[in-house]
Amino acid sequence: MEDYKFLFKVVLVGNAGVGKTCLVRRFTQGLFPPGQGATIGVDFMIKTVEVDGEKVKLQIWDTAGQERFRSITQSYYRSAHALILVYDISCQPTFDCLPDWLREIEEYANNKVLRILVGNKTDREDREIPRHIGEDFAQRHGMYFLETSAKEAENVERLFMEIAVELMEQAKCKELPKYDGSLGPINGKTTSVGDSSCCLRS
């Protein structure tokens, strides 16, 4: 018997240095690795969480942000159930690249994939992207939105938990088989409303 009921693949994307690996490490291992080197190619982590008393296994594929690995990272989008698009709130260019990322997701990922926009590094003093800018952007593009800090462990757990919840709801209403790579259509998906604290549950 498998020890989990659902398996979801979550892929993190975003520019180099926005903290994707740190988010994953914080969530899976509960630590913040200072001086984390750049990811090469793709990294893989697993974490089993419990939602409504049922075990959900999250396969987390942490991709390299560097341009040169783009071709291999793109190949991981296709089978993803959820895509976490990360930017650095203290770094304008990482936010400016979001449209490019969306285009790439549009091209390579399943069009029904769950997309979450994450502004990371809220612990930083030098914020360049106000929260509402990120929210607006997410709303315009039909994404969920959350601001996190991997360093302070802020919203990290919640990010992944809510992804698990959302995906499980989808899976339940679609009766998706556990190992199915193709995700069914997501019904009633709405963007975050004004209250960002419960954006994932809209």
């Binding site: 018997m1 498998e2 020890d3 291992q29 080197g37 990811t39 090469i40 190619g41 793709v42 990294d43 893989f44 982590m45 697993i46 396969q59 594929w61 390299a64 341009e67 040169r68 690995f69 783009r70 071709s71 291999i72 793109q74 190949s75 991981y76 296709r78 089978s79 190992y179 790579g181």
Partner: protein, 831 residues
């Protein structure tokens, strides 16, 4: 009764309870299923002790004797291991894995199917852990599994996860370098396993799908590019080189490419090309060359051209910094260099249409490049060079008969705009294509001239040569050099000289086939070369190049039969150097130099002692009075007084009659030499000449048809044309009288003679054997050519009385004066 009942009840309770207790404690294991007990027993008390061997044997024996239990054994082992992983008791996990491996190997394939499910779940579980040791262990087990041949396909089995995970492992950057290397190695081995497992069976997962290839190929390449140096070998020994990730990745790539069928080659190549773009590995292209060579070496031979094709299509593809035009050009050049490096490997196995496909593609790219090349970029030049090199490399490895095909193909692509009218792009394309042609030509080793120059090819070459820029014409001559030069004399003949003895030329007797070739095409060739010398746009390079060509022809085809033709050409060149009004003084002097050097070459090739003596006299005389009329050629002859112009020194010229005498003294036939020159001076006559050249060439091709239908009709047509008939009726004598008589009309006797000849000819063609007919018809065209030529010169002579065939030197010197209209055609009836 009541207490008794009570006692009984109590006793029963105690008994039952005792039984229950013992069951729970003591005989618990006895009541568990046998397979579980056997599995439990293989685990030692302490993980350090390792697998309990004897119990493992029992388990193996059990599963062999009751294979239906195998799936449950697998399931149970997996559960135990999952628990141990969770509790981080890695020692037991390793033992469980080992047990599974042994079972897998021991059991027969038909019973494995369900067991494999748990086995793979186990492997996946281990791969999901963060411990490198477990990941590596899992990979090893997976590889072992991959090497087992299953005879029942499993449609539902998915390798998605394994491909993803192994690819991720290939990119490991573990803090500890050696651990990182081990993980990478494991990743590559895993990928190799997946490939082996899936590639042969169409029913399981299709490994060639983009989603897999996009992971596998970049992972392999990423490991290959990390090697310190790239050594490309055509075939890898698979036993060695498993120690470094780079080597193993290379071996894996070879295996992958080697297994790819035609439809799948593209699936491998696309990610390769993308990877090179992404990682900017085209410039410098060392690694790209290395990789593509590996691909070429390992791809199944019959598909190798599709690799070339894919790369060719990618030449223009976008890459990093695609916005910048210069960067794009550099990128293209780098890719073309890679192409030129691998194309030779493909050539050996290419056949038929694929060859022309590749050539055509290269030419298309060249043309596109020429169209772009408006701002004279050096990078664009590099690109073109690389493409031309690729063309040369490719052609070099083709058999010779295909090279001729390719040359024909290229020459037909050359735009032939009339002289001076083509656009700049046209002339550029022309020179590029000629360069390509030269490149291909250099790889061709001429054995027989008639094979190297099929009629259509020669014709096309000469046509191009007549209407091109000076630089392109020089290129064309170089093409002729490389095709003509069978004995490596060309480098010694780059400049006109008089001292041939010192050059150490290799001269051999020319073969019969070559003689036939030159008698068929000699006039076309000589005519074109002669015309080439008459252009005012000629540079010294052009003139020297033509000199080399003629000299090579002279050496390659040197024989008694051709002496006359050669000397006649020499005389015509000499004459044009005096009388052609468009030529500059320098060009006139250069032509004199060329003429005398070519004349000197003739006695060097054939034994004509008197000719050598005569020429030596002229050379001596020129040395004293007019050294500017001797080689070496110079760019300019500035300090020349007008009295020293070649036209003013007729007594220093070679004389036709004198040459005739010399040749005759050696017992050679002088008929051709004594005949009036078929070369007309100046470019005025050029279009005219071409009409008959082409006609002659065209006739040369369909000779078979001519044998039956041609000769009688031709004879008739010649007869019906009065001018030609009269000329043809000229008898052997060379007197003015005879000519006048002939002009008046053929005599009765001659007419009868003609009739008779016609009848004989007709009957000959009806009765003679084929070979004989072939023999007599071959030169027949020459007669007609000649007739037309004479016809031409007759009509032109009133306009240009001093040009053409007459020998002006004779007018003022010791030789008898021969008026220009006194023509004698003894050779016309030789056939």
């Amino acid at each position: 009764m009541v207490p008794l009942r009570k006692i009984l009840h109590r006793a029963c309770f105690i008994i039952s309870r005792t039984v229950y207790m013992t069951c729970c404690c003591g005989c618990c294991s006895a009541l568990r299923p046998r397979y579980k007990r056997l599995v439990d027993n293989i685990f030692p008390a302490s993980p350090q002790d390792g697998l309990v061997k004897s119990n493992m044997e029992k388990l193996t024996f059990y599963s062999l004797s009751s294979p239906e239990k195998l799936d449950r054994i697998g399931e149970y082992l997996f559960q135990k291991a999952s628990r141990d992983i969770y509790r981080r008791r890695h020692g037991f996990v390793i033992i469980a894995m080992e047990a599974m491996d042994q079972l897998l190997v021991a059991c027969h394939s038909q019973t494995l199917n369900l067991f494999v499910e748990s086995f793979l779940k186990m492997v996946q579980k281990l791969l999901e852990s963060t411990d490198p040791q477990l990941q590596i262990l899992a990979t090893q087990s997976f590889v072992r599994f991959a090497n087992i041949e299953e005879d029942t396909p499993s449609y539902h089995r998915r390798y998605d996860f394994f491909v993803s995970k192994f690819s991720a492992m290939c990119h490991s950057n573990h803090i500890d370098k050696s651990t990182g290397d081990k993980i990478r190695l494991a990743g590559i081995q895993g990928l190799q396993g997946v490939i082996r497992k899936t590639v042969s069976d169409d029913l399981v997962e299709n490994i060639w799908e983009a989603q897999h290839m996009d992971k596998i190929v970049p992972s392999l390449l990423y490991n290959m590019q990390s090697a310190e140096k790239y050594e490309t070998v055509s075939c890898m020994d698979s036993a060695v080189g498993a120690e470094a990730p780079a080597r193993l990745a290379e071996a894996c790539l070879r295996e992958l490419v080697g297994r790819a069928s035609f439809g799948h080659i593209r699936s491998v190549l696309r990610p390769v090309l993308t990877h090179f773009d992404r990682h900017e590995l085209w410039i410098p292209n060392e690694f790209a060359v290395h990789t593509f060579k590996i691909i070429m070496f390992s791809v199944q031979a019959q598909y190798s051209y599709s690799v070339v094709e894919a790369l060719m299509q990618h030449l223009d593809g976008a890459g990093p910094g695609a916005g910048d035009a210069r960067a794009r050009t550099r990128l293209r050049a780098a890719r073309a260099t890679v192409l030129s490096n691998i194309v030779a490997i493909a050539a050996g196995d290419s056949v038929g249409p694929s060859v022309l496909e590749i050539i055509n593609n290269l030419l298309t790219n060249l043309r596109a490049s020429v169209a772009r090349d408006s701002e004279k970029e050096s990078d664009e030049k590099l690109y073109q060079e690389a493409l031309i090199n690729a063309l040369g490399e490719f052609a070099d490895h083709l058999p010779d008969f295909q090279k001729i095909d390719i040359m024909m193909f290229i020459v037909n692509k050359v735009p032939s705009a009339p002289r001076g009218k083509g656009t700049r792009a046209d002339s550029m394309l022309q020179s590029i294509l000629l360069k390509s042609l030269l490149k291909v030509g250099t790889t061709y080793r001429t054995a027989e001239l008639s094979k190297a120059f099929p009629a259509a090819f020669l014709e096309a070459l000469l046509r191009v040569g007549s209407g091109a820029e000076p630089a392109a014409r020089a290129l064309l001559q170089r093409i002729l050099h490389t095709l003509l030069d069978r004995r490596a004399n060309a480098p010694r003949l780059t400049r006109p000289t008089l001292e041939y003895a010192e050059l150490g030329l290799t001269v051999e007797k020319c073969s019969r086939q070559d003689l036939i070739f030159i008698s068929k095409h000699g006039y076309a060739l000589f005519g074109s070369l002669y015309d080439g010398l008459q252009l005012e746009s000629n540079t010294m390079e052009n003139i020297e190049a033509i000199y080399t060509t003629v000299a090579l022809i002279c050496i390659e085809l040197g024989s008694e039969e051709t002496v006359g033709d050669m000397l006649q050409l020499v005389l015509a060149i000499q004459q044009s150097g005096i009388s052609n009004p468009v030529l500059s003084v320098a060009q006139q002097c250069q032509l004199q130099g060329v003429a005398i050097s070519l004349a000197v070459l003739v006695p060097h090739v054939c034994t004509v002692p008197r000719l050598a003596e005569y020429l030596n006299k002229i050379i001596e005389a020129r040395r004293e009075e007019a050294p500017h009329m001797l080689p070496p050629l110079m760019e300019s002859y500035d300090d020349l007084t007008s009295s020293k112009l070649p036209a003013k020194l007729p007594y220093l010229m070679m004389d036709q009659m004198a040459l005739c005498e010399c040749v005759k003294a050696s017992g050679l036939d002088t008929a051709r030499l004594a005949a009036p020159s078929p070369y007309s001076a100046g470019s005025v006559a050029a279009p005219h000449r071409h009409s008959w050249l082409e006609a002659g060439a065209a006739q040369g091709r369909d000779s078979l048809a001519d044998i039956t239908a041609g000769p009688p009709t031709e004879l008739d047509s010649a007869n019906s044309s009065p001018g030609v008939t009269r000329a043809a009726c000229g008898s052997e004598s060379a007197h003015l009288e005879a000519w006048r008589r002939a002009a008046g009309g053929p005599s009765e006797a001659e007419r009868r003679d003609l009739q008779r000849r016609r009848a004989t000819l007709n009957s000959a063609f009806r009765t003679a054997p084929f070979d004989h007919l072939k023999h007599i018809t071959a030169p027949k065209y020459e007669i007609q050519d000649k007739l037309e030529e004479i016809f031409n010169s007759i009509t032109e002579e009133p306009l240009l009385p001093m040009s053409g065939s007459c020998s002006p030197a004779g007018q003022k010197s010791y030789q008898q004066n021969v008026p220009p209209y006194t023509k004698y055609f003894p050779e016309l009836f030789l056939y």
